[in-house]
């Protein structure tokens, strides 16, 4: 750990070398490589897929409703005859964007609050009571209040789609940072009594450097777990929001929504739940493996091995 403190004195060239080290280690992690490969594939599928498969995800072909897989509709059609493959692509764009940004927001807020509360004893009480407050708030009424207060102003200033996107990310972020904060704080409380932290403090390392250099790298693994679980939660929560009228308009597909809508059709058209279900699970799984690989790659103790 102490070698990290000496790193800052090194040049930019050396710094880059460290990241090469990380990459080298990452490359040796088979799961991480497969995960990253799959994630890139999913990104290509949802962003470039529509160029190849040009059916409009919102186009209703009522004569073709409830069809099973065929050459015209490889994943079948829904109850209005909309093409499921096109909907899966369009849904993925929204779900991945919402999942990643909302998770990122929750993680940043959660980690920030957790580290500050754990490290600075004087702020601990206040921040943890704030966390208790947020944990205790009744989510549904809170959401209804948020819609009432912010939907129209956001829609007016960012347009319907961007406005709703901001709202959803904000809502998911603001209601899901607390577990991360509690977990990170718990780890920090234990970490700051460890020898290497005491040693670093005794040589007069200022608090911000203590946090960034010594504390954060050591709470990375619970954060990574929170991140992967957070993506799954965000994708599902987004679909729950649309039932409150808080999400995207109802003809706008997302993975969570496709899965929910398909649930009732489980017996008749199982492909309607299998594909969105697989898409969500495998995306989360791939992020999990990337996270695993990154954590190993960033840990200098493992990197050497």
């Amino acid at each position: 750990m102490t070698e990290l403190t000496t790193l800052e004195a090194q040049t930019y060239q050396k710094q880059r070398n460290q990241w090469w080290d990380v990459w080298d280690q990452f490359k040796t992690h088979k799961g991480a490589l497969i995960g990253a490969g799959f994630f890139i594939f999913v990104l290509l599928f949802v962003y470039l897929g529509p160029l190849v498969w040009s059916i409009d995800s919102q186009y209703i072909d009522i004569r073709a409703r409830n069809q099973g897989p065929s050459w015209a509709h490889p994943m079948g059609t829904d109850q209005l005859g909309r093409d499921m493959l096109a909907r899966l692509m369009a849904g993925g764009r929204t779900s991945i964007a919402v999942g990643l940004t909302a998770m990122g927001l929750a993680l940043i807020v959660g980690t920030f609050v957790g580290v500050i509360a754990g490290y600075f004893r004087r702020l601990d009480g206040v921040l943890m009571r704030l966390t208790d407050l947020f944990l205790a708030l009744p989510i549904l009424p809170l959401l209804l209040v948020i819609i009432m207060l912010f939907r129209d102003p956001l829609r007016a200033s960012f347009g319907p789609e961007a406005g709703i996107f901001i709202l959803i990310v904000f809502v998911i972020g603001i209601t899901s940072w607390m577990p991360t904060a509690r977990i990170v704080r718990g780890d920090v409380l234990a970490l700051k009594e460890r020898e290497f932290v005491l040693a670093a403090r005794s040589i007069g390392t200022p608090p911000h450097r203590m946090v960034l250099r010594h504390i954060l790298p050591n709470v990375l693994s619970p954060i990574m777990v929170s991140a992967t679980l957070g993506i799954a939660t965000a994708i599902i929560t987004e679909s729950a929001l649309s039932f409150l009228g808080l999400g995207f308009p109802s003809d706008f597909p997302t993975w969570g929504r496709l899965l929910f809508d398909g649930t009732d059709w489980l017996q008749r058209n199982p492909e309607r739940v299998i594909w969105p279900g697989l898409a969500i699970s495998l995306t989360v799984l791939s992020v999990n493996y990337i996270g695993d690989g990154l954590r190993d790659a960033l840990d200098p103790r493992i990197r050497g091995r």
Partner: protein, 569 residues
């Protein structure tokens, strides 16, 4: 489809066969009913929800109920009072009911006229917040002429006097049980509200609010052979699809209510052969309201009020007509409601006497006709973006409704059809508790109507449309002054219409009332401020082993549960 009709027919045939009459009380064991919304109380005067009213109808009764054909059937009364038999006074200001000879409450005490008088006092108490108070509107007094005779006096002639004490919404409660529960004390009588004493076929054994009710047969029920079931479990909770599954696929329950499930799925579940789907039509119409005032968000707080001025294009009937022509109602009905829906062109579709036939052209979709109509009126796409302009304003509408899978599908379909005639729609769905909640501080209530078009279902209770047709008076437009209360949601205003409403309230003759109601209906239709879509019926399912179900949409679905019985397999 054919199979279902055959099966229904056979069930009906068995219902009429003499087998039913041979049943004796309690011989058929246990009946399981599932309502996916659970009742929260058994006092329908404290909660006006359908689930509470229908569950209470097993216990509490009124003088008469409406059968599946909308006819009155005497329950607690000897017969139905009419002008002919002298039960309704010549000047239409009173109606006299006679209580059945020897009618007993389930605790064994006799029912007297005083109970009816008490019921009226209970519901009209100013501090009680009685949910069914409108059934006693225009009632001047309720008089106990003698122990078995009750006269209801009205303040003005009442052409349709069958409101108070008729139907499941205004049942008679026992004076002795509720004596201390008047007014503000009403909510404190938990025991009485949770297990009211009634005259119905069942008695409450245990009531768990919002969860489950268990009933047992009423030992003092007036018909010694009924009910055939010894006990009833009335379970609540879940959702419509899972409720349908328990009756149609797993057979755990005998009767499931209000199955708003995709018709394709319902048919598939029915094919399992365990249960059947039944429907009954009342007066519910799924409709679009076109805002006649300007809802432009730029107008801030005055939008959708008179101050905001008329809507830039929806006040022109041509636009509304084109929007209506573009809609394929039979398809909407088939996809969304199946057997539980019929395409309609009227906001007043039933009873037959009141149903107009003047607007039936709308049943056939005519996109070309709609395009031609708009072209002729000079409403064309002048800037080439695929959306027509009306005097410079693009025909873009915000289309809102409550959150409900069927409604969202209908929204998507209508959006596509409108796109084909050059009208752009942005869809929005709002949580039902907010949309119908009426909170004046929320921008999303259906009364505020901060949108161009909205879709929901409305209906009227009972069989008389007078109050319903009075919804569209100029004075009933919601506005900030009235805390956005008012039933004239689309903000329609026409003095000629107001005159017809006044005329109807003074007309007693049935045929004449029918003519006026049809005229009013046509007037609204031709203004194209309301676009009716689907005449909706109730959809329920019962096990194939359950006989005697005669589902009525004019009253509680369980109105004749005393006659239900178990078919031998």
């Amino acid at each position: 489809m054919k199979l279902r009709h055959l099966m229904l027919g056979s069930v009906a045939a068995i219902a009429l066969s003499p087998v039913a009459a041979l049943a004796e009380r309690g011989s058929d064991g246990q009946l399981n009913i599932i309502y996916w919304q659970a009742p929260s109380t058994l006092n329908p005067y404290l909660s006006g929800g359908t689930k509470e009213v229908e569950s209470a109808s097993l216990v509490l009764e009124s003088f008469a109920r409406f059968s599946e054909t909308g006819e009155l059937v005497p329950f607690m009364a000897e017969d139905i009072p009419t002008l002919e038999n002298g039960g309704v006074s010549e000047d239409l200001t009173s109606i006299t009911w006679t209580i059945r000879e020897g009618l007993l409450w389930s605790d064994g005490t006799p029912v007297t006229a005083a109970d009816a008088v008490f019921t009226w006092e209970y519901c009209t108490h100013p501090e009680g917040g009685c949910a069914q108070a409108s059934y006693f509107d225009g009632v001047e007094s309720v008089e106990a002429v003698d122990d078995r005779t009750v006269t209801v006096h009205f303040t003005a002639p009442k052409p349709f006097p069958y409101t108070a004490f008729v139907g499941s919404e205004s049942p008679i409660i026992q004076a002795a049980q509720f004596a201390d529960c008047l007014g503000a004390a009403a909510p404190e009588c938990t025991d009485a509200n949770f297990s009211p004493i009634g005259t119905g076929p069942f008695v409450v054994e245990e009531f768990r609010p919002n969860d489950v009710i268990t009933f047992v047969a009423n030992e003092n029920y007036r018909n010694p052979d009924q009910p055939a079931f010894a006990s009833v479990t009335f379970k609540g909770g879940g959702d419509a699809a899972s409720a349908a599954r328990t009756v149609l696929e797993t057979g755990e329950f005998d009767y499931a209510w209000n199955l708003q499930v995709d018709p394709t799925l319902l048919e598939e579940m029915e094919a399992a052969g365990i249960g059947s789907v039944v429907t009954a039509f009342g007066t519910s119409v799924e409709r679009l309201h076109l805002n006649q005032f300007n809802p432009d968000p730029a107008l801030g707080d005055i939008r959708s009020t008179e101050e905001a001025g008329p809507h830039p294009f929806l006040t022109d009937p041509i636009v509304g007509q084109a929007m209506s022509m573009a809609i394929d109602r039979p398809l909407l009905s088939e996809i969304g409601y199946g057997a539980g829906g019929q395409p309609t062109c009227n906001v007043l579709p039933a009873p037959e006497l009141y149903a107009s036939t003047a607007n039936d052209d709308c049943l056939v979709q005519d996109i070309d006709g709609a395009n031609a109509l708009l072209d002729e009126a000079g409403i064309v796409d002048s800037d080439g973006d695929g959306i027509r302009e009306y005097e410079g304003t693009p025909l873009s509408v915000l289309f809102q409704t409550s959150t409900n899978a069927v409604r969202q599908d209908a929204q998507a379909l209508i959006k596509q059809w409108w796109a084909e005639i050059g009208i752009d729609a942005e869809l929005r769905n709002i949580d039902a508790s907010v949309f119908f909640g009426g909170d004046p501080s929320s921008p999303d209530t259906f009364q505020k109507f901060y949108a161009d078009v909205e879709m929901y279902t409305n209906n009227f209770a009972g069989v008389d449309p007078e109050a319903y047709m009075a919804n569209w008076l100029c004075s009933d437009i919601p506005s900030p002054e009235t805390q956005w209360q008012g039933a004239n949601i689309q903000r329609f205003c026409d003095p000629a219409y107001d005159a017809l409403v006044a005329e109807m309230s003074e007309t007693a003759e049935l045929e004449e009332r029918g003519r006026i109601a049809r005229e009013m209906n046509d007037m609204i239709m031709q203004s194209y401020s309301i676009i009716p879509l689907v005449h909706r019926g109730g959809v329920s399912a019962h096990a194939n082993t359950l006989g005697g179900v005669r589902m009525s949409d004019w009253d509680s679905e369980l109105w004749n549960i005393a006659e239900w019985y178990r078919l031998d397999e």
